[in-house]
């Protein structure tokens, strides 16, 4: 069963010298001759293929243990003949006609990657982060919170007016009274900074900036803000965000193969976008559950809605492109959802801080 010889190179595994050779496919094995009378035969079952699986690669066959002898054939058609010559062992050798199938499977794998990444991103990471957050001790959150607090709200800038503090604490107690006991020591500080904002630092400390307090027109509006921020604390959004960020980094590193060098920058951008979306989800949760908190505490939900409407108007002045990149959900959406939750209200709300002049109180900082 002689066939036409194939040109090849032979390497003996001992020196770096390359020998030109010709190969013949015999019944039991490959016959190798180097032209000067030296011949040798490799049994088909001793041969393993180590290169030649992809377009542009040469076919590389090896025989032997640690430092094998090597045959290199550049014609890929050789594989087809080799498979024919050794039909029982055909599986040991790559079949070039299957490359088209492999390409189709690769496209399928690509679709699988997209589906798996989306699944992990949309469900896997948020669920895992929520689960893992329950294992993070509160004392750790408190420590992280303390160091954040010293940046946002240095001790010297806290408003210490006793009337204001009493009023704010009363609003806080009204909100938390019906809720089950939480592991957090919840506190609110007003900080003398013109920012129109409020922050929940991990560990139970909420910071309301003077700018925001002065904008509120009633204690109910402040209650709305506090309820929202309290939910960030209770639902451990900061810890979850950290865990989500880390998992996103892992996912992106997997997708992009190697996270070194300039790739790290590209990944950083992708991760920031992903984090923003998680942060929008967290805001949505804090809105809905904050509103539920108001309802349970018998606080008029109109305060929260009114105040968010004022903020939404200010946000409306920003160009549309920025809103997508904002960490807060689209204002209209947000209001609609708040109103939807508020519609579940039963009974008459109890007025907060009756008999106080809020417009005076809110300027005491």
């Amino acid at each position: 069963m002689m066939r036409s010889p194939w040109p090849a190179f032979y390497l003996d595994g001992k020196t770096a010298v390359r020998h030109t050779a010709t190969l013949r496919l015999m019944r039991e094995g490959l016959e190798i001759s180097t032209g000067n009378g030296w011949t040798c035969r490799w049994l088909y079952r001793e041969i393993r293929q180590t290169q030649g699986f992809y377009p542009g690669e040469v076919v590389r066959l090896e025989r032997g243990g640690v430092h094998p002898e090597v045959l290199v054939v550049s014609a890929v058609e050789f594989l087809t003949s080799l498979r024919k010559a050794a039909p029982d062992l055909g599986r040991r050798f790559h079949d070039p006609t299957r490359r088209a199938t492999r390409r189709r499977l690769t496209v399928l794998a690509g679709a699988g990657v997209i589906a798996a990444s989306l699944g992990i991103y949309l469900w896997g990471i948020p669920i895992l982060a929520a689960l893992a957050a329950t294992f993070v001790p509160v004392s750790w959150e408190e420590r992280v919170g303390q160091s954040a607090l010293s940046q946002f709200a240095p001790p010297g800038r806290h408003c210490s007016d006793p009337q204001l503090r009493a009023a704010v604490n009363e609003v806080l107690e009204t909100l938390t009274a019906p809720a089950p006991r939480s592991p957090y020591a919840l506190r609110v500080s007003v900080v003398n900074t013109p920012l129109v904002n409020a922050i929940a630092v991990p560990g139970g400390h909420i910071v309301v900036f003077r700018g925001l307090l002065e904008r509120t027109r009633s204690p109910e509006e402040l209650a709305g803000v506090l309820a929202h921020e309290l939910q960030h604390v209770l639902r451990r959004h900061a810890t979850r965000a950290m865990l989500q960020g880390a998992s996103m980094g892992l996912l992106l590193a997997t997708i992009s193969g190697d996270a070194t060098g300039p790739l790290a920058y590209g990944l950083g951008a992708a991760r920031a976008l992903g984090d923003l979306s998680y942060s929008r989800q967290a805001e949505g949760e804090a809105d809905a559950d904050g509103m539920k908190m108001l309802l349970e505490a018998q606080v008029d939900p109109a305060g929260m809605i009114d105040f968010f409407e004022v903020l939404a108007k200010e946000e409306g002045a920003r160009p549309a492109g920025f809103k997508y990149l904002s960490s807060h959900p689209m204002a209209d959406d947000r209001l609609a959802r708040l109103k939807n939750v508020a519609s579940g209200q039963r009974g008459t709300p109890v007025k907060l801080l009756p008999g106080t002049d809020w417009s005076r109180l809110s300027k005491l900082c």
């Binding site: 770096a16 010298v17 390359r18 030109t20 180590t50 377009p55 640690v66 002898e69 029982d88 300039p262």
Partner: protein
């Protein structure tokens, strides 16, 4: 199905190789080979690499990361198999299974202790002195294992790389690199950073001069003082060029390192320029950021082609004298270097 029994004739022919090796007269690249300049060539394409990568990503996601070691190995198989010198392909002989074992061992010896110490430092409720001690210990572990990873990773990769059937090897000792690191770290601090080029050259000399192809060692003749003035220029130009001047320093360093690397009677030559390097990196960065990392296979191929188009091996080579002299290398070092994010490119 049982495989067919070998013929007697086969056995005789099999053993013939030991009695009668091929004559060198029939061999190529004998001593007559003089003074030519050779360039490595990359035959692969980014599309195929992307296909390999896609399947790798899917399997890595599905196996929750375990497949990563096979993914790494498959990419290396492809990249090495498509790289040719003198018309002969390189080959990569690493296996995913051994790398998995190496990685597990590294996780046990290094990853878990460091994780535990970091948890003690940042999360657990323990007295402050304990936290401080845990932090110091974690830092010490990293400091000791970084050179171990560098040497072990290089030892593993070179031992799994061959050309013309002859394995590469790395035979440097970790303690020597630790010495270089300690001296370099100390002197760099004391001299406010001006020792850096000397440190870089010492490190490169260690990595090159302990690298072997078969029985033949690579040589390195670079000296730190030669890089000192380019380094000073880069320092002075940092502000006026907003840091971009450093690209020219990197290009200069790369040229200098290759130009002072010799193999046998031949020497390497490198022609990379700062401008070309800057263009390469800028486009790579744009491609990666624009595709959120998906362009990684194209970037990898671009880097390889760029490096090869700038690299030559000049002078006579007597390959007949080079004998197989492979060295044992455990996959532990490679597993360890996975924890240090040390990207490994042919380039």
């Amino acid at each position: 199905m049982t495989p067919p029994e070998p013929l007697d004739e086969d056995r005789t022919l099999d053993s013939s190789i030991f009695r009668r090796p091929p004559e060198t007269t029939n061999a190529e690249s004998g001593p007559a080979d003089t003074g030519r300049s050779r360039r490595p060539r990359f035959h692969g394409d980014a599309g195929t690499l992307f296909g390999i990568h896609v399947v790798n990503v899917l399997l890595t996601l599905v196996t929750l990361g375990v497949y990563y070691v096979w993914a790494k190995t498959r990419v290396r198989h492809y990249v090495f198999g498509q790289t040719a010198m003198e018309g002969d392909r390189f080959a990569y002989h690493g296996a995913g299974t051994e790398l998995l074992l190496g990685t597990l061992k590294a996780a046990l010896v290094f990853g878990l202790p460091v994780l535990g110490l970091n948890l003690v430092r940042d999360v657990f409720e323990v007295p402050d002195p304990v936290k401080a001690a845990a932090g110091v210990l974690a830092g010490a572990l990293v400091f000791v294992f970084l050179p171990v990873a560098l040497v072990g990773g290089r030892r593993y990769r070179l031992s799994r790389t061959s050309w013309r059937g002859i394995r590469f090897s790395f035979r440097g000792h970790v303690r020597d690199l630790i010495k270089i690191f300690m001296r370099g770290g100390l002197l760099t601090t004391v001299t406010l950073g001006f020792y850096t080029p000397f440190f870089q050259v010492n490190r490169q000399a260690f990595l090159v001069t302990h690298s072997y192809f078969g029985s033949r060692r690579l040589e390195f003749t670079g000296r730190g003082q030669d890089l000192f003035s380019p380094f000073m220029v880069a320092v002075l130009l940092t502000l006026p060029t907003l840091g971009l001047g450093w690209v020219w320093y990197v290009a200069h360093k790369r040229r200098y390192f290759w130009d002072h690397t010799r193999f046998d009677t031949a020497r390497f030559g490198c022609s990379v320029t700062g401008k070309a390097l800057l263009a390469l990196w800028a486009i790579n960065l744009l491609a990666l950021v624009g595709t959120l990392g998906l362009a990684w296979p194209w970037v990898r191929v671009r880097n390889i082609r760029f490096a090869f188009s700038n690299l030559t091996l000049i002078g006579p080579l007597d390959l007949g004298r080079i004998q197989q002299q492979a060295q044992h290398a455990s996959p532990f070092g490679e597993g360890l270097s996975g924890f240090f994010d040390s990207g490994f490119d042919l380039a």
